[in-house]
């Protein structure tokens, strides 16, 4: 369980998060949605301590991110997938995935690599274990990024606009993997721009704009009958006036 408790964060004079609160339960898939610059990415980067909080607190399974000693435990329970993949370019795919498990979790190398191969098989990249990131397409790199996160056997998965740097075809291959994880009950916080996808996999939507949480609703309600004009405007823009009939 992740509890975000009235957090505030500024970059210089720009206030990116203003008094944001939210709770993420185990097994829940939450989509964080909203216009660019609304603070979505900053929110999830605060959860694993990549950004320091100015105000408020975040507790991950009871541990505060403000407690420096707890940060390592928090980080190994909240694995992150990045927009720009951020794979280690000097390591093979296999080494990318098994680095943190061996160094942080002290797993024996053989076990970490066996797990890595298993994950690669799951995302359809079983034959690319020895490749370097530069030899893979963007979609393949991001699937490796997902494996790298899953190798930590995290309680929570933080996905930071993981398909924004990909073209539609590659986006589809990555989303397929994420959807499978969601169905398997992985706790996920996913910041993204794929409205259709959010509606399909998420249990709940948090809509953020200008550093505030504007709405925090079950997904059906969010897409179905929201009254807030800001959300309606955003959804209209993002879904390109898709008709009611398409909805599941």
């Amino acid at each position: 369980m992740i509890e975000v408790d009235r957090i505030g964060k500024s970059f210089g004079s720009v206030e990116v998060l203003k008094d944001v609160s939210a709770t993420f339960a185990d097994g829940e898939v939450v989509a964080v949605i909203g216009p660019s610059g609304g603070g979505k990415s900053t929110l999830i980067r605060c959860i694993n301590g990549l950004e320091r909080l100015d105000r408020g607190d975040i507790r991950v399974d009871g541990r505060s991110v403000r407690n420096h000693a707890a940060l390592k435990a928090i980080r190994s329970s909240c694995a992150m997938v990045f927009q720009q993949f951020n794979l280690y370019p000097h390591m093979t795919v296999l080494a990318n995935i098994s680095l943190a498990p061996t160094v942080v979790l002290k797993k024996p190398r053989a076990a970490a690599e066996a797990k890595a191969r298993e994950l690669l098989d799951m995302v359809g990249l079983g034959d690319r274990a020895g490749a370097y990131p530069a030899q893979l397409s963007g979609g393949q790199q991001q699937r490796v990024g997902i494996c790298r996160a899953l190798a930590m056997e995290p309680r929570h998965l933080l996905l930071d606009e993981v398909t924004s740097a990909l073209d539609p075809e590659m986006t589809a291959e990555v989303l397929t993997v994420i959807e499978r994880l969601a169905k398997a009950g992985t706790t996920m916080i996913l910041v993204n721009h794929e409205m259709e996808f959010a509606r399909r996999v998420a249990d709940r939507a948090i809509f953020m704009e200008a550093g505030r949480v504007v709405a925090d609703q079950p997904i059906r309600q969010f897409f179905g009958n929201t009254q807030d004009p800001r959300i309606q405007r955003f959804l209209t823009k993002m879904t390109h006036q898709r008709s009611e009939a398409d909805r599941p």
Binding site: K72, A73, M80, L87, Y88, P89
Partner: protein, 230 residues
């Protein structure tokens, strides 16, 4: 009658001995300088209060003054103040190490800072500590950037190491000076001395080219035919 203008086997041994001393001075001072550079680069990169500023002052001071002046300062100046005596070799080694350290600090710091921020974040986000991140993720990438400037520096430092002959260190240049005084055959002596430096310097840059090509390997292979996409 007292001048022996021809070179004999004994002179050849002297020159070899001088080359050995030059090599020793170069290797020891460059290793020590690299160690200094590494520590200071980390201090600068982490912005350790006070120490980072001191490191910056040291770097500026030693990069922007002549090595010979630094050598005189250490060999003549420091003993006169502290009352300790330094042998020429010790003074030469220390000066070269400190001088190399200033340049290496800049090279290593720049290489570390050139590694994209996302690499730090990816490692830290998975719970790797500072040292583990450095060791597994940052340094292996920074080394690639470091090789070319480090080699130019090394080649340069090998050559300026000849300056320590001025305070009386008996290395290759000093042997050359002595033989030149005796033989009065500068066109015979100095090319031999130059060759001595060349045979150390050339393999150094060859080693650099080789290791650079080797380290580039995986990334360079990108986009080549069969390996690409399915």
């Amino acid at each position: 009658m007292y001048q022996n203008t021809s070179l004999n086997w004994n002179d050849a041994l002297l020159l070899l001995d001088g080359l050995g001393t030059t090599l020793f001075i170069f290797v020891v001072s460059f290793a020590a300088g690299s160690a200094i550079g590494f520590v200071l680069a980390i201090i600068r990169e982490r912005r350790v209060p006070v120490l980072a500023q001191l490191a910056a002052a040291y770097v500026e001071l030693f990069r922007n003054s002549p090595l010979l002046v630094q050598l005189f300062l250490l060999f003549f100046g420091v003993p006169s103040i502290l009352g300790i005596h330094l042998t020429p070799l010790a003074a030469g080694l220390i000066t070269l190490a400190i001088n190399t350290g200033a340049f290496m600090t800049v090279i290593i710091q720049a290489a570390i800072e050139e590694v994209p921020r996302g690499q730090w974040e990816a490692a830290r986000a998975f719970g790797l500590g500072y040292l583990a991140t450095m060791r597994h993720v940052i340094l292996p990438q920074a080394v690639r950037t470091m090789i070319p400037p480090t080699v130019s520096l090394a080649v340069g430092q090998l050559q300026v190491s000849s300056l320590v002959s001025i305070v009386g260190v008996v290395e290759l240049t000093k042997i050359g000076t002595n033989l030149n005084l005796r033989t009065l055959a500068p066109f015979k002596i100095w090319p031999i001395v130059a060759l001595g430096y060349f045979i150390v310097s050339k393999p150094l840059s060859m080693l650099a080219d080789w290791s650079e090509a080797r380290l580039k390997g995986p990334a360079e292979r990108r986009g080549i035919g069969t390996d690409r996409l399915t």
